[in-house]
Symmetry: C2
Subunit: 277 residues, 2 copies
């Protein structure tokens, strides 16, 4: 692992790091905020998964998470959203597929199956690296959250690993990518046309298929232009109600899909996770 940069921030250290990933077969960049409490002791680890078009950098710069993470003593890890590079098959002009749009799954279809393994990268490889390189990380206390495509990533990861994650929340998540215009083409290319394979990466269908998690927190902007077509939080609400999973869904009037929305409720989410970690 190579250190790209570090800077003191809010009493802790905000770093950016790069390593060669065995899963994606590319260099991968991610950011880690170690709160002041991590200098001397162990702290819980909260994973933030970003949305379409983002790298680790967007939330690291615009997410306003450090003040709350320092207050509550939580480490924040922000991975990239996809493998990148000249050798990675991509559609340069399509923001909903490929670079910046890997949907936190393991692709099964050539030529994408070689590099697009973000599920295994987040579920296994990166936690191993964090455990090895960040002595402050207490991996017995992990939470996960994310935005939009990253909210989908957080929900599906938590449902598949309820033993690993003690808490899960999301900002404006894609709750049912199988039926969402902006994810169907990507799922088809990554996983093939058989929709049965898509169920493993669809929060509402994982719940319908019996996966459980102890509770979810979701914030959703009421003025989000993707609300009706891409996000549809009511589908998660219905799935959770049927399965008996407690869901707190906060509709936030007037808020859009941007980092202005995310950063407005970031401190609330971190406090909520901290209380459960």
């Amino acid at each position: 692992m190579e250190t790209v940069s570090t800077a003191k921030a809010h009493g802790g250290v905000q770093g950016v790091y790069r390593h060669d990933s065995r899963e994606t077969k590319t260099p991968m960049t991610f950011s880690v905020f170690v709160p002041p409490q991590g200098v001397t002791g162990k702290v819980p680890v909260l994973w933030y998964l970003s949305g379409l078009t983002c790298t680790h950098a967007n939330v690291t710069e615009k997410g306003e998470f450090r003040a709350a993470a320092a207050r509550h003593g939580v480490m924040i890890v922000c991975p990239d959203t996809s493998p990148r590079g000249d050798d990675v098959p991509d559609e340069k002009d399509n923001w909903q597929f490929g670079s910046g749009a890997a949907f936190y799954l393991d692709a099964t279809q050539a030529p994408y199956d070689r590099n697009y393994r973000m599920y295994s990268y987040i579920a296994r490889e990166l936690p191993e690296l964090i455990a090895e390189q960040f002595p402050a990380a207490d991996l017995s206390r992990q939470g996960v959250f994310g935005h939009s495509m990253g909210g989908h990533g957080a929900l599906t990861l938590a449902l598949k690993h309820p033993e690993r994650f003690k808490s899960c929340s999301a900002f404006a998540p894609i709750v049912q990518p199988s039926t969402s215009d902006w994810s169907i083409p990507a799922l088809t290319k990554f996983l093939g046309a058989d929709e049965a394979a898509w169920r493993a990466y669809d929060a509402t269908l994982l719940i319908a298929d019996g996966k459980k998690f102890k509770e979810f927190l979701v914030d959703q902007g009421g003025a989000d232009s993707f609300l009706d077509k891409g996000l549809k939080p009511w589908l998660l609400e219905a799935a959770c109600r049927k399965a008996g999973i407690p869901l707190t869904l906060n509709m936030r009037e007037g808020y859009d899909h941007s980092y202005y929305f995310i950063s407005s409720f970031m401190a609330d989410h971190i406090a909520w996770h901290a209380a459960r970690l």
Copy 2:
């Protein structure tokens, strides 16, 4: 004035606006955060002046000011750092002069004197526009702060207009541009070789020449790579001591010159201003 964008954030509205400036003779872009208290009532106005290479956007995205501004009910106005455009004389490869580096002065030397009028723009034109376009702005309660070159701007503006500004603070300000490597070439080009003309835009020399302000707050990172050469806060300390101006100078161990530093102490500065506005 044209609205470029608005988004709800921290209960208020973060907007970006553009207008044709009579001073710079170019379109100028700036951002305004109206806190929730500004929807129904009047709120004080806190001006944030940015540093070299920045536009209004850097601090608007990375400054983490909205949570504190919403808590204290303060409007935050972030101007650009220079005129910009194909018709504006510039040195494209020089980050210390021209675009992004106008040093909050009125140039007197051709060809720069036509557009580089950031002092008059901030001192007169933009406040008039804010008064006209933002009914929530209570311009009888104004404060000013800034970073690096913008800290220089804040200090000199406050010293020249103690009746207008009730409070002034700075992050890592250039306190004596007349003797600083990174500003001498710009002062020479904008104001001519006669250093007497530079005194009007040098905080320590304005103080030496008898200008007063009721008190200053300055935060300075101890690991700032520009500390010894460009910033030298001890020169401000000496000038204030001699003139009897109270200065709180917080040296912040381990912090650099970046937005990670600024955002770490942003809430402190806004609370400090709010108590004086």
